[in-house]
Symmetry: none
Subunit: 236 residues, 2 copies
């Protein structure tokens, strides 16, 4: 997994231990420096102590809701951005105002890769200094996260949301075999309980769209019995 150049410090706040662990672990693995808290009170204290660059904040906490936490943080002079976690049905209609300022939100159940991508996007917007680009490149393949657009050799390729997330995951890990289980864990929502054959289907969809030229070396390769791999041309 590509690391963010200067490691940003994140504060993860969720009362469900499973989610908190899941997030902490994968964000840490993504190269972030992670501090976790289980409720609003601890979150405020942790913010004071660690002064994070961004917070991932569940809106439903046992002691106070995420908005209150945010308001108190801001009142205390902490102006780092927040990525809110909300239940899917809260968001569709009611809860608004989550994207004000540099903030953003992700609905539960989320896919891990999606959360990482959103966090990176928010950090990119609020710390525009770094030359950290929204575009990932592998060979003549370009994936632009801001525009949500994929090009191969300049040609725009149209992908469905899941195809896009899958390709992004592959492109973040070029020349590394990714098992179907890994792909499921990162790209699909964490409560998905279908089987891994769905990954085969989506790999097949992707191949049809990005590896349509049968003469060229395929970017997506199968490692039978192990997983899949996105290969760069200049690799051996």
């Amino acid at each position: 997994m590509k690391k963010t150049a200067p490691e940003a410090k994140l504060l993860v706040v969720d009362d469900e231990p499973n989610i908190r662990e899941l997030l902490s672990t994968s964000l840490r693995f993504a190269g972030f420096d992670v501090v976790a808290a289980a409720n609003g009170r601890d979150a405020l204290a942790a913010a004071e102590t660690h002064n994070p660059d961004l917070a991932v904040l569940d809106v439903m906490l046992p002691d106070m809701d995420g908005f209150t936490v945010t308001r108190r943080l801001r009142a205390a002079g902490r102006h780092f951005p927040v990525v809110f976690l909300t239940a899917r049905d809260d968001t569709d209609d009611k809860v608004t105002g989550l994207t004000v300022g540099g903030d953003d939100y992700v609905t539960k159940p989320f896919s891990l890769d999606e959360v990482v991508a959103r966090i990176r996007a928010v950090l990119r917007r609020t710390h525009p200094l770094e030359d950290d680009d929204a575009v990932i490149r592998v060979d003549d393949l370009e994936l632009d996260d801001d525009a949500h657009e994929v090009r191969r050799g300049g040609e725009t390729i149209d992908l469905s949301p899941t195809e896009f997330k899958l390709l992004r995951y592959l492109m973040m890990n070029p020349n590394r075999v990714l098992s179907k289980a890994q792909i499921l864990d990162h790209v699909w929502e964490y409560d998905f309980n279908g089987d891994a054959s769905i990954v085969e289907s989506y790999i097949s969809y992707l191949r049809r769209k990005i590896d349509r030229n049968p003469d060229a070396v395929a970017l997506i390769q199968t490692k039978r019995g192990v997983g899949y791999l996105l290969r760069t041309a200049d690799k051996r």
Copy 2:
């Protein structure tokens, strides 16, 4: 979001914590340097201490009204412009006279993007030095904020107020996908609690007026499942 080049310092005064927070956060993100106050007394003190370039001032404050605050500021030799926040049902005679100097006013409930635009407009008028232009251009599309006018290829296009605000938001963020939630948060008034499908309607209206030529590449593009995007032709 486009930032203002030389950061101007703003004083935000409102007694409702939510509004104060909402404004502070989004103005800060818009590139301003923000100081906030909850009442007239604190506002006067803050003006002394921080010497802002502009104040955003609620006319209804617990201790004194916004006009009194302004009068005292002026008496103290502070002549920075003020953008007043007023209730929609305030009588006209109260509101007239607000715009006499370089001042302006916005009615509550406001749209965040609208407030930012008005503040920029006032600053533009009072600090004409900066090469900060009132005209946003994307391809052959021009939006003139001062004249409140939109042209495509020289041809003037007539838009309703909401259509105008929506287009402005899109044009301020070219080549970036904007979700319906983001659009609602920035373009609609903060107390709007209808659902996001209204955005679809307005996108549809805009397309009819702006992308009426079916042969040309559409400026407004749909990213299914993600949001909308205003595309520039010269995409790298």
